[in-house]
């Protein structure tokens, strides 16, 4: 029996009059990689951004339903967004390190929390950079600007930055779409390893990537969850006709 980390219950989301997510319910297994796939505009990124409540900032957004983390609905009014986002980290489509040093990028979340102790800070930065396989490449230049790194390195830095606050879940929003094939392969490998310590939820429109690295896959179409299940099964014997058509390249 798989243990679940996140539970989505009847999630609906509107931007203005337009409904983007339609009555979505499923559970995300603990310490596994779950991929959300679907054609452009199906709402997959919007769904991903529900988990750390990044949609809240948009104007004119309405959200109904529950997302339960550790038995607690994150959409409760008294939720502290700051600690929620430290528990559920995020890595974006394009690498977006801050124009600060490599060290300060990784330390950012901890500083926000009010960490002052230099030695402890250094330890966590080192560990996070090691966990994102960047340490050996940057250990001699932690004080140089993160902007000097290559795209792939920047994305791993963003992963280190997300890891530093010791999250339970990391959300990846098409993390390799702006990268070359080699960097992509490295990030995929890295994500596969991350699942030993965190739960990974990843949006991708690269079906190959979802098939390669994810344990579970959710197929989203026009704001609806069409199918959710073990990746191997979903990719080989899809239950729904729409999933079959999407995987066969009928639309996308």
């Amino acid at each position: 029996m798989v243990k679940n980390r996140l539970k989505i219950e009847k999630l609906n989301l509107w931007f203005g009059e337009k409904q983007i997510l339609n009555d979505i319910s499923f559970s995300i297994p603990d310490k596994k990689i779950t991929a959300i796939i679907g054609p452009s505009g199906c709402g997959k990124t919007t769904l991903l951004r529900c988990f750390n409540r990044m949609n809240d900032m948009a104007d004119d957004v309405k959200i109904e339903g529950k997302i339960i983390l550790d038995g607690y609905n994150i959409y409760e009014e008294k939720t502290d967004l700051s600690s929620l986002r430290m528990k559920i980290g995020m890595v974006f489509q394009r690498p977006n390190p801050f124009p600060k040093s490599i060290f300060e990028n990784v330390a950012f979340g901890l500083r926000i929390k009010g960490f002052k102790d230099k030695i402890e800070l250094m330890d966590i930065v080192e560990k996070s950079l090691k966990d994102s396989w960047l340490w050996n490449e940057v250990k001699d230049r932690l004080n140089s600007s993160a902007m000097e790194l290559s795209g792939g390195q920047q994305q791993r830095l963003c992963i280190a930055r997300a890891l530093a606050t010791n999250p339970e879940v990391i959300l990846f929003d098409e993390p390799t779409s702006a990268l070359d094939p080699q960097s992509t392969a490295k990030i995929e490998e890295l994500i596969s390893e991350l699942k030993n310590s965190v739960t990974v939820l990843q949006v991708t429109h690269n079906i190959g990537q979802a098939a390669r690295i994810s344990d579970y896959t959710a197929f989203l179409y026009l704001g609806e969850l069409v199918e959710f299940g073990i990746s191997e099964k979903l990719f080989t014997v899809p239950q729904d006709k729409r999933t079959e058509e999407y995987l066969g390249g009928k639309f996308g």
Binding site: N52, M54, M57, L81, S82, S83, L84, R85, M86, G89, M90, F92, R94, N96, P97, F98, P99, K100, S101, F108, G109, R111, I112, K113, S145, M147, C158, R161, A162, T165
Partner: protein, 284 residues
Amino acid sequence: MGLRKLKEILGINALRLAILISVIFLFLFIILIFVKGGKLISFTFLTQPPKAGMTKGGIFPAIIGTLYLTILSLLFAFPIGVLSAIYLVEYAKENLLVTIIRTAIGTLAGVPSIIFGLFGLAIFVVTFGFGVSILSGSLTLGIMVLPLIIKASEEAIKAVPDSFREASYALGATRRQTILKVVVPTAIPSILTGAIMSIGRAAGETAPILFTAATFYTRRLPKSIFDEVMVLPYHIYALMTEGTSPEYQVPIAYGTAVVLLGLVLVISSVSIIIRYRMRRSKKW
């Protein structure tokens, strides 16, 4: 040769001509000022007060006066300008009031400087009772450069990519933390560019300080911000219009112009160096 090629050549040469004309006038301007005023520059000229009915001596009190006015006006306008810009970009919702504020700031930037002088006279000199003083002059100059600083800071803050803000929020930062730790540090080099432009204007304007801070002649240096001061641009104006022995005073006016240019250059260079050093670590 085809017509398209001809057009191409004509086009590029029109551009060359335009830049040539700008450069020629710039050089003529600098050469003229330096030829006429350069030979006056000496240690005495920079460190002595005027003597013998403004026909001899130096312009030291005017240099000090200009420094006071420029620095004080920026101390006043820079923080208020940057804070206003932060509010306008990061907090203000698009509504009628904010549109009115934006338009007002835009309009204020285009108001002739003499109007600021009249305003300063009415408000600071008379109503607030600061008299003709460094304080009144600095506040007047400060208000004059405020729209410049707000505009430049607004553009700088808007230019900070939203992906930086998102990354910050996603790491648990609050809006205040995002602004203080990400947005402002990223924008500060460009914000300083606005401040540098303001230095040039604040140091060089005559009209706003005509009624609010400047005096034609004083031997002593200001003791407090309630003293009136000699200032470089007004010194030039006074020598050229009210002098009684132009054969001595016109050269001094050109010498003063050289000093004023030099002063603006020095203050700007310092800010440019600061900006460069910041930008080196912050480029993206």
